[in-house]
């Protein structure tokens, strides 16, 4: 069973439908135990870093993520749900994230922001997430990103500058883009992730 963590933001129903195409049962939940014990947990996120982090803490999501890592249970962060897994964010002032990875989410340097639309990525060698969709485009909507390399399989994209498009680090993975809005390529990536559960 896959749990999508409901902490007050975003359209969770269409994310649920997208993950259901993998063949797994998918529940939307803010329940601590359901989220902690699900085979896979998805941490979505739409909005600003600080308000998402606040929402996450309100359902003890930071604790859930840390405990799932310790228990070796897969977790996938999406968009701002990826960003808040890092140690720091600078959107509307300096804020602390969950701190799974020690890096800062910074503003992108590009003439036109947000970075909005379909971008190709340079997927990491040995990537499980991008297997079979290495040359595809994915849907991005963001103005902030991490520019450091994180985890064993970092995938980068470029918009104005190089930034981290996805992380695969043991049981925890994250995408800066929205796989649930990335058409057939996104559903393929979701299937790749759900096959690891």
């Amino acid at each position: 069973m896959i749990a999508i963590l409901d902490y007050g933001s975003g359209n969770l129903r269409s994310a649920q439908r997208a993950f259901e195409t993998s063949g797994h049962e998918v529940v939307i939940t803010s329940d601590y135990h359901v989220a902690l014990n699900a085979d896979g947990l998805v941490v979505p996120g739409v909005g600003a870093f600080a308000s998402c982090m606040q929402g996450l803490i309100s359902v003890r999501g930071d604790q859930i993520v840390r405990e799932r890592i310790a228990a070796k249970r897969p977790t996938l962060g999406i968009c701002v749900g990826m960003q808040i897994l890092f140690a720091h964010g600078v959107e509307h002032g300096a804020h602390e994230g969950v701190g799974v990875w020690n890096a800062t989410v910074e503003k992108l340097t590009a003439p036109i922001l947000p970075h909005m639309g379909w971008n190709t990525v340079s997927s990491a060698t040995g990537s499980v997430l991008f297997s079979g969709v290495e040359d595809q485009s994915f849907y991005f909507v963001h103005s902030y990103a991490v520019k450091d390399s994180v985890g064993a399989h970092p995938t980068f994209a470029e918009y104005g500058e190089k930034f981290l498009a996805a992380v695969e680090d043991g049981v925890i993975a994250a995408t800066q883009f929205h796989p649930e809005k990335s058409g057939a390529a996104g559903l393929h990536l979701i299937k790749n992730w759900s096959n690891t559960l």
Binding site: N11, R13, S14, R17, G117, N119, V133, H142, K181, G183
Partner: protein, 257 residues
């Protein structure tokens, strides 16, 4: 690694049906919105826009249901506009499955609404839809309301700058002179708006030939919206992408090998 141009079919929905007219009048039935959304997704649309032009509350409820059904089977971004007057309206649409909302008249009436929506949901959900036409204003372009029938008494470029300062994430620029004519996008207007804005710009109104699409990109548009040329089969989305791809614009191939 590049960002592709977005091709966006626009579905004008009233009482659960897609309609299309010329210069916002003479509406004719163009099909079922959920079916058309699926079809455009399969043909490679990069995003979809629903514009709710229902006049009644019942019509708006029907559109909400259309959004819900579409979001459950189409996994590309969905923008919904029409009749949005409050943060609560936005919340309802996002919960129904919209990824972005576009606002128009309500922002002209009360510009603070832009900041209220952006503060609550982030700039990335908010598209400012501007119906503009050529006129004797400072910039030569003015904002209109009621589908281009009335002047809003606003200079279009001044409005673009104000909306950006208040926090919109994207601009949907509709040329009221070109809408539905298939005589080409208003290139001068696209260039003028591009010059005063730093958020993505969607060109709308007037798409006819394949060259029209590339001309709008050259003028500074990041995305291209069209309705009648797609609804009535003048061009398939794949044809537009093939043309643009052949002319060295980056387009998304929606199909897996």
């Amino acid at each position: 690694m590049t960002l592709s141009v977005r091709i966006i079919p626009c579905l004008d929905v009233t009482d659960g049906r897609v309609v299309k007219g010329v210069n916002f009048t003479n509406l004719v039935d163009a099909g079922d919105p959920v079916e058309m959304a699926s079809l455009y997704d399969a043909e490679g649309a990069d995003e979809l826009t629903f514009l709710d032009i229902s006049a009644s509350v019942a019509g708006r409820e029907t559109t909400l249901d259309v959004v819900r059904k579409t979001a459950e089977q189409v996994f590309i971004p969905l923008t919904v506009g029409g009749g949005i007057r409050s943060v609560e309206d936005v919340d309802r649409l996002l919960r129904a499955g919209a990824d972005k909302v576009s606002i128009n008249t309500a922002a002209i009436d009360r510009p603070e609404l832009i900041a209220e929506i952006a503060d609550r949901f982030g700039s990335q959900v908010l598209v400012i839809s501007i119906d503009a036409r050529r006129a004797r204003t400072d910039s030569g372009f003015e904002v209109t309301t009621h589908g281009g029938r009335n002047s809003a008494g606003l200079d279009a470029l001044a409005w673009v700058e104000r909306a950006c300062a208040l926090g919109v994430g994207e601009i949907l620029l509709n040329s009221m002179d070109a809408d539905g004519t298939r005589a080409g996008y208003d290139i001068g207007m696209i260039k003028a708006v591009r010059a005063v804005s730093q958020v993505p710009l969607i060109a709308s109104g007037g798409a006819g030939t394949l060259e029209d699409f590339s001309a709008a990109l050259d003028a500074g548009a990041d995305a291209l919206l069209a309705a009648s040329v797609f609804h009535f089969g003048v061009h398939r989305i794949g044809d537009v992408k093939k043309y643009l791809g052949a002319h060295n614009y980056s387009v998304r191939n929606a199909h897996l090998a």
